[in-house]
């Protein structure tokens, strides 16, 4: 252990101050220190997207970020997106469209999906963007933007359906 660092994280609106070794990733702090095990560890190298969370509203791979670097940040995990009985529209759409099978990648898929729609609203381009000055929703755009989230069950078509539904305002 190196000298622990006092780190204040605001996770799903609740403030926690943790004493952390600098080598602890945000992912491990969420799972092991805060018992928020909804966020999953898949590859641990930023390739699968299972660990995707929102930091100050932006999606990142929590496995490729040190918790001590997030002092004061607002973090939203799947537990803060919605709960049984009070689902986020994206969660409801994943259920409606059968956007998962085993469910392991689903927390990351849902966090990423919510961020994707926000990125399109903010006119962040993707590799599928045709007109850089008028960026909208299309299946090509959604597929490209979700390429950082792998699903071994192959629920991709239904995930895109769910995204499209919410993106077009039919929650």
């Amino acid at each position: 252990m190196s000298d622990p660092h006092s780190t204040r994280l605001v996770v799903n609106g609740r403030e926690s101050t943790l004493s952390l070794d600098p080598a602890v990733t945000l992912l491990d702090a969420l799972r092991d220190d805060l018992d928020l095990t909804g966020t999953k560890k898949g590859c641990d190298h930023g390739q699968c997207g299972a660990c995707t969370v929102l930091v100050n509203g932006r999606r990142i791979n929590s496995c490729l970020s040190l918790a001590v670097m997030h002092d004061g940040d607002q973090i939203t995990t799947i537990e803060g997106i919605g709960q049984p009985g009070a689902l986020h529209p994206m969660q409801a759409a994943f259920i409606r469209h059968d956007g998962f099978q085993c469910g392991f990648c689903t927390p990351g898929q849902i966090c990423s999906s919510i961020a994707v729609l926000d990125e399109i609203r903010r006119q962040v381009p993707s590799h599928a963007t045709r007109d850089l000055l008028a960026i909208g929703i299309s299946d090509d755009e959604l597929r490209e933007r979700m390429s950082g989230n792998l699903c071994r069950c192959g629920a991709y078509p239904n995930i895109i359906e769910a995204l499209r539904d919410v993106g077009e305002g039919h929650p």
Partner: protein, 329 residues
């Protein structure tokens, strides 16, 4: 990860002084590449100096009419910036062609330029790699080299530079602003940032120890038709086998490449000024001949010679289509 200590710098001066003072210290920005390599013990810094909160996250117009991009501007924010999408479309396109949405939200402008090669032998500590362990040899030379360099490499290293963004920056004549360990500022043209591997492939840039990139500047917009065409082993989220950054001008005399650079071919973003000097209306084959002069492929990556020709031809055809539609990108 190996054990390390951590500090968050609150000023550029504090950051460079800290990296100079502690042996084995490194800056950390987005961390998306460095932490990956630390988990594999390819990188083993003793101390990390966090440069995320130095206020280097703004994009400003320069007095000359160009852009000054703070070193910590995230890749996604740079690609989305209104002036970049309008006037430097090549840069938006190249950034969007790389990595995933999550990584582009975290990776920084300077970190993207300084990311390490994805050569499999650099990553595998059981294999010889002159870049990872100077003098140990290069297992790639007789190994699996299908996505390694055909231009600008050496007998000691055939690794490629993995960045898409850097290819656009090279084509657009970006410069890098730095502050060194003594607090002195300087500006390095991106053409002089990357060192050829020679017999010292572990030395990748002309940055001095503890020198910190603070900004990347772009000259005023150059107009033209901007496109970035990337070929890879799958449709998304993969490194280029070949990518073409083209700024084209189309006149009655035909298409000329006012800027032409390539990714996936060389140890650095690979600009072909020889091809840019060819008069308008020349064929893609003529331009490709100029690009590929001096190419030295391996048995595994000789396919890139044909792929460069075809991708360049497709890019030029695409530019003519864009022109006929009256568009810019």
């Amino acid at each position: 990860m190996r054990q390390f200590t951590y500090q968050r710098a609150t000023s550029v001066e504090e950051a460079v002084a800290a990296v100079r003072a502690v042996p084995g210290a490194r800056f950390i920005a987005g961390g998306t590449n460095l932490l990956d390599l630390m988990k594999l013990h390819v990188e083993t810094p003793a101390h990390l100096v966090d440069v995320n909160r130095l206020g280097l996250d703004r994009i400003e117009t320069t007095p000359e009419g160009g852009l000054r991009i703070g070193a910590l501007v995230r890749n996604a924010d740079l690609a989305a910036h209104a002036a970049v999408r309008r006037d430097y479309a090549l840069l938006s396109r190249a950034i969007a062609a790389g990595a995933s949405g999550q990584l582009r939200n975290k990776a920084s402008t300077a970190g993207n330029l300084l990311q390490r090669t994805r050569c499999p032998y650099f990553y595998d500590r059981a294999m010889a790699c002159n870049k990872r362990v100077p003098g140990s040899g290069c297992a790639a030379l007789d190994g699996h080299s299908h996505n390694l360099a055909i231009l600008g490499a050496s007998a000691h290293c055939i690794a490629t530079h993995p960045s898409d963004m850097a290819v656009a920056m090279r084509a657009l004549d970006a410069s890098v602003e730095t502050v060194d360990a003594d607090g002195a500022a300087r500006t390095i043209p991106i053409a002089a940032l990357y060192l050829p591997p020679g017999d010292t492939p572990q030395l990748e840039t002309s940055l001095r120890p503890a020198e910190l990139i603070t900004a990347v500047t772009l000259p005023p917009p150059i107009g033209g038709i901007h496109l970035y065409r990337k070929v890879r082993d799958r449709a998304s989220y993969a490194f280029a086998t070949v990518s073409v950054a083209l700024v084209a001008n189309v006149t009655d005399g035909g298409l000329s490449a006012s800027r032409l650079a390539f990714g996936g071919l060389a140890p650095a973003p690979w600009r072909s000024e020889a091809a840019e000097h060819i008069p308008g209306g020349a064929s893609a084959a003529d331009l490709a001949d100029a690009v590929l002069a001096g190419a030295r492929p391996t048995a595994h990556n000789a396919y890139k010679l044909a792929l460069v020709r075809r991708t360049l031809a497709a890019s030029m055809a695409q530019a003519l289509d864009i022109h006929s539609e009256g568009a810019r990108t």
